[in-house]
């Protein structure tokens, strides 16, 4: 079972959430406690997973709506929970989908900051998505690329900039601006002239002015 209490600064509400989560899981266990056969044990495990997913989604909702230091406190616990998760890819997907559904600039950044703390999973997901023909939600593609590019700088040019998804190239442009000018400037110049998206050409031009 995943723990949500990796943070000493958790609030009363968070403890209540944890308590009620335990209650639901224990209720599920009690509900099936008279059985011993394998099929019911499977049902028990499934109930626990559903409860776990429910509380994870609820925690993500709280985190994505929080701002500033409150958000930072929640991030510590969530990042630890994600890192220990046995279904990491599904959990990353839940974070991305929830943040994309909110469509808020603050929530997008919160999701990027959370996913950037993951050591594994996020980079592989971004590489796969960059070359998939299926068009993901634009915000999902952007968050995924931003988080992955912050984890592994070499994929900015080698993967993200080559993607046919505009939002992934958009993330790559933002990430380029944080590289050394010698490395970033020639690439931004090329994007400013050649990218098929007018918005990305304009953004690259804006960022180039920082190197003047």
């Amino acid at each position: 079972m995943t723990s949500y209490l990796g943070d000493d600064d958790t609030t009363d509400t968070e403890h209540e959430d944890s308590w009620s989560k335990d209650f639901v899981i224990q209720s599920s266990i009690a509900q099936f406690s008279f059985t011993t056969n394998t099929a019911h044990e499977g049902g028990l495990s499934e109930s626990a997973t559903v409860a776990d997913d429910y509380f994870f989604t609820s925690k993500i909702g709280q985190y994505l709506s929080a701002l500033g230091l409150k958000q930072k406190r929640l991030r510590v616990g969530l990042a630890s929970s994600l890192a220990q998760s046995t279904n990491l890819i599904e959990r990353i997907r839940m974070v991305l989908d929830k943040a994309a559904s909110l469509r808020s600039q603050d929530s997008l950044l919160a999701a990027i900051d959370l996913l950037s703390e993951l050591d594994k999973g996020i980079v592989q997901m971004a590489i796969r998505a960059a070359f998939e023909m299926k068009s993901d939600n634009e915000n999902v593609a952007f968050m995924l690329a931003m988080a992955a590019g912050r984890r592994q700088k070499r994929i900015i040019k080698d993967v993200l900039l080559l993607s046919h998804h505009t939002a992934m190239r958009e993330a790559a442009i933002e990430l380029l601006a944080s590289l050394e000018p010698l490395e970033a400037k020639p690439t931004l110049e090329r994007i400013a002239e050649e990218d098929e998206s007018p918005a990305l050409r304009k953004r690259a031009t804006e960022l180039l002015s920082e190197f003047d």
Partner: protein, 178 residues
Amino acid sequence: MASPSNGAEPLTIRGTLGVASGSVFVRRVTRPAIWHDATRASECLYEPDGRVSVWRVGNDQDLRRVVIAINESRESFRERIDFLPILPEELAAASVVCIQTRGETKCPAAAQLHYDAQIGDGNRKRLLETLLAARRQLGRCTSGQMGKAAEQSEQDGCFAVVENPVSCNCGETFEASC
């Protein structure tokens, strides 16, 4: 501790935000490129509950406090920030009401500069039209500028930057803020 950022221009309302000095609201933007896409630009002003987090900046010192407060919750004080500047009269023209709410920061001076702008579908469209008509550009704080701002705030004794603060140049003392 921030690393040296000697070459960076200091943060100013005129230079950083591209608007004349004076009071201005700023909205942090995560996807600056969408501001260049007329079909997506309104997303910069969207929140599902209609309460859009903005900061009111009256002078260059306010601007520094606000950017430090924003990056206090991030991985590093040097993270770059993009802003949509909005003038008070532009909010008023779009009938957007701003309610002062305490910002989530250890800097008491910055916390008082935070507002929730009440923006729904109707006034968002009006506000967007006003900003596009004014050819509003996004402002941005580069990583170097952020590093320099963090150094200055550290020298001031800012509660958001210093680990065990006693007093800050803004006039706050640790006891007073607790």
